[in-house]
């Protein structure tokens, strides 16, 4: 669990250039981490590469928070 969260966190820091402390399971990409919609699309792409997953568009649309992403990835592994 922690492992997935840490890997997701590393990607978010790299992509969105935000402080590590802001990245909690509850943090919303758009509201708390200052991502625009294209940033979220790119994040999802990177998560797909990192975890070797294919996230369908309909599922990607439900990924709004860091926790959504972590839980989704955990559910697929």
């Amino acid at each position: 669990m922690a492992d997935v969260f840490d890997r997701v966190k590393t990607i978010i820091i790299d992509r969105l250039d935000v402080e590590e402390s802001k990245i909690t399971m509850e943090a919303s990409f758009k509201d708390d981490l200052e991502a625009d919609s294209l940033d979220v699309v790119e994040l999802v792409m990177e998560l797909e590469d990192e975890f070797d997953l294919e996230i369908a568009d309909e599922e990607a649309e439900n990924i709004n928070t860091v926790g959504d992403a972590v839980n989704y990835i955990n559910s697929k592994q």
């Binding site: 294209l38 699309v41 790119e42 792409m45």
Partner: protein
């Protein structure tokens, strides 16, 4: 300046697509030659551009079929390692008066000419976003701006391509992906060879430069839009029509 870049051109076995392939190859661009049906012609384009010293291969795919397009893009990236330029050129006509146009004639033209551009654009965007660089050049048509009797389907598709160009340009500008269109007028290709002598004369009378264009006239503008010379141009539609529509 374009040397070593990698491009995919849809509908590149003949006409304007073939001319674009030759023009880009002259400038050192490696090419994926997409074609729908004519394998022999596609192969001869591959051989011609290889003689200009670039790497090239052909892929058959229906641009309106997302599965085939995804496989083609994947092959291109596997082969070349990057994809810098997409030219959405594949197009068909099924001309008829509106009153006689069948629904399937409308759908087929929209599917290849408009939906095909959308599918190919979507499929390369992931790679271009990763690269933080890319050029997408859509081959629209001047009739998409002016309208043309007997071509409601084609004109609707080409006007759609111009709109697609603008939306895509706005969405992807922040990732340094530039999207532009060219709008050829009457260019001497198989598509215009079918005009009657009377149609040809009437057409020439509408063109201030009083001649049909050549596929190369279009290809050179595509090369410009793909190059660093066009770094500050996105969302535009450049008319290549001898001044027909201003």
């Amino acid at each position: 300046m374009l040397k070593g870049k990698n491009a995919l051109i849809t509908g590149a076995s003949r006409g304007i697509g073939r001319a674009i392939a030759l023009e880009l190859a002259k400038n050192g661009v490696n090419l994926v030659i997409n074609y729908a049906g004519n394998e022999a012609k596609a192969q001869s384009v591959v051989e011609e551009v290889e003689q200009l010293g670039v790497k090239a291969f052909k892929v058959q795919a229906d641009v309106a079929n997302e599965t085939e397009v995804k496989a083609m893009i994947k092959e291109a990236i596997n082969e070349f390692g990057s994809l810098d330029i997409l030219v959405n050129n594949a197009g068909i006509t099924k001309d008829n008066l509106l009153m006689r146009m069948k629904e399937e004639e409308f759908d087929q033209v929209i599917n290849t000419n408009l939906k095909g551009a959308f599918i190919c654009t979507k499929a390369v965007t992931r790679q271009m976003m990763k690269q933080k660089a890319g050029r997408i050049i859509n081959v629209a048509s001047i009739v998409g701006v002016s309208g043309n009797p007997g071509q409601a389907n084609y004109v609707a598709a080409k006007a759609g391509v111009i709109g697609l160009t603008k939306s895509t340009a706005k969405e992807l500008a922040s990732r340094n992906i530039l999207v532009n269109a060219v709008a050829p007028g009457f260019i001497a290709t198989d598509m215009t060879d079918v005009m009657t002598e009377e149609q040809r004369e009437r057409t020439l009378a509408m063109i201030p430069l009083a001649a049909l264009g050549k596929p190369e006239d279009v290809a050179r503008v595509v090369r410009f839009l793909a190059s660093e010379d066009a770094n500050y141009i996105t969302g535009q539609t450049i008319h290549i029509d001898g001044g027909m529509v201003m």
